[in-house]
Subunit: 266 residues, 2 copies
């Protein structure tokens, strides 16, 4: 199953920002069983976006785009997706409620520019943005999907984890299983364990490791580490996750840490 990532925005093409969104998404898509065949950065230009969406629709099952969903005139991703799919751009009532709520909480008016963020291609399914104004959406075309996400990393990641990942697993990979284990380590600052975790992560593309610091970083550090392994074989992924857990446990102990808790989450 091939996937393409489309990164939209002039600021990427002048080198003002590094495209960390693309590598984050690539890692997640590989974890979910996809072969990422292209990461393409295009300018804020309808024709360029439509051109690459057209190619992507021919070659991949899934296209994930980031950027170009905001309120300004140079945010044109929704319009480009509508054109690429030969559909109308429509005011989506659910999206409008989300956008209206976001601004009313901030006591800001719903200007036409802001309302523009509620326009998505006909037939698309809106995705709530838990941390920002612009909703994402999924537009399906036959057995293919275009997933459209904002460019702000925290918004992109949040929508992906909450809505896109479950959607992709259901639609494209119902047989792929995920084992999630956790281990809580006390007494080791995150920065000391990080090189080991990063290295483990790099060497195992089918494993997704997240560490959440909970206590104080240096005085009384508490680290909640999640180990996710994906694959088709239930036994295999559980064994692999257990091995990862043991490796992290051993390393944490060698750094003077103690294990508060560990086990299987799902």
């Amino acid at each position: 199953m091939d996937a393409w990532i489309l990164s939209i925005g002039n600021e990427l093409l002048i080198g003002r920002i590094v495209n960390t969104n693309a590598s984050w998404l690539a890692k997640r898509l590989v974890f979910l069983g996809f072969d990422v065949k292209r990461i393409i950065t295009v300018p804020d230009s309808i024709d360029d976006i439509v051109e690459e969406l057209g190619r992507g629709l021919e070659k991949a099952k899934l296209i994930v785009t980031t950027g170009g969903l905001g309120p300004t005139y140079d945010d044109m991703t929704s319009e480009a997706v509508a054109q690429a799919l030969n559909r109308q751009l429509e005011k989506n009532e659910k999206a409008l409620i989300m956008v209206r709520e976001f601004y009313s909480k901030k006591r800001l008016p719903l200007t036409p520019e802001r309302e523009k963020m509620a326009y998505i291609p006909a037939g698309a399914r809106v995705l709530p943005n838990p941390v920002g104004a612009a909703p994402g959406f999924i537009a399906e075309e036959g057995d293919k999907s275009i997933v459209v996400l904002p460019g702000v990393p925290v918004e992109m990641k949040s929508i992906f984890e909450q809505y896109v990942e479950p959607y992709i697993r259901r639609k494209y990979n119902p047989d792929r299983k995920i084992a999630e284990y956790f281990i809580v380590v006390k007494g080791v600052p995150e920065s000391e364990l990080a090189p080991f975790i990063n290295d483990l992560s790099r060497r195992n593309p089918d494993v997704y490791l997240k560490s959440h610091p909970k206590g104080h970083e240096t005085r009384s550090p508490l680290l909640d580490i999640r180990i996710l392994v994906s694959g088709l074989d239930d036994k295999g992924i559980n064994e692999k996750a257990s091995r990862m857990l043991s490796a992290i446990e051993e390393k944490a102990k060698s750094l003077g840490g103690t294990i508060v808790e560990k086990g299987r989450s799902i």
Copy 2:
């Protein structure tokens, strides 16, 4: 003048590494007067590389590629460039000398895998690699150029700065001028001045700022900052560079630094 950047390598598509090469190159190309219209990451696959090179040759004056120049079987950039230009891959005598010297200095044998790095498309011009084994090259086709660089960032940057930048300026932008100023600051650690410099750099795409720490980072810091401004108008770029220099001087003094030296380099 449009430019494309082609990043070659599976490790970018599985999210193992972030594509910092592309943003570095984009910044330099914008500085040299180009509009970067695409940054495309492709797998280590001849067909994929040839496909995107073909599109790039149709649409851009300049294509810069990174990656896929090493000794292993999955390094296939040279072969792909040869195919895209409909040329033979030939053993290049200058390239062979470079590769042979690199390994003989390390007292390592010239295996067939290593010798492979001396094969470049017929008619291409080899670019010495001052810090690594694989030479780069430039292949011209009419008024278009494909610049082929290794993926290791320090090698890519070194070849670009020493050989590619002068080539590009001569061929594509003989009227574009560059003003270079310098200022040497004493008593401010690089990390304290960095946020200001980064911000200045972000807000001015036509300016290239480099800071080289020379003394000890914290005990007796000495910073050599280079300010490069490019443009068509000699007076304008000099005025802009002077303004940048003054801003940095003021900031450095406010952080307790003293100015050891300042002036115009070119």
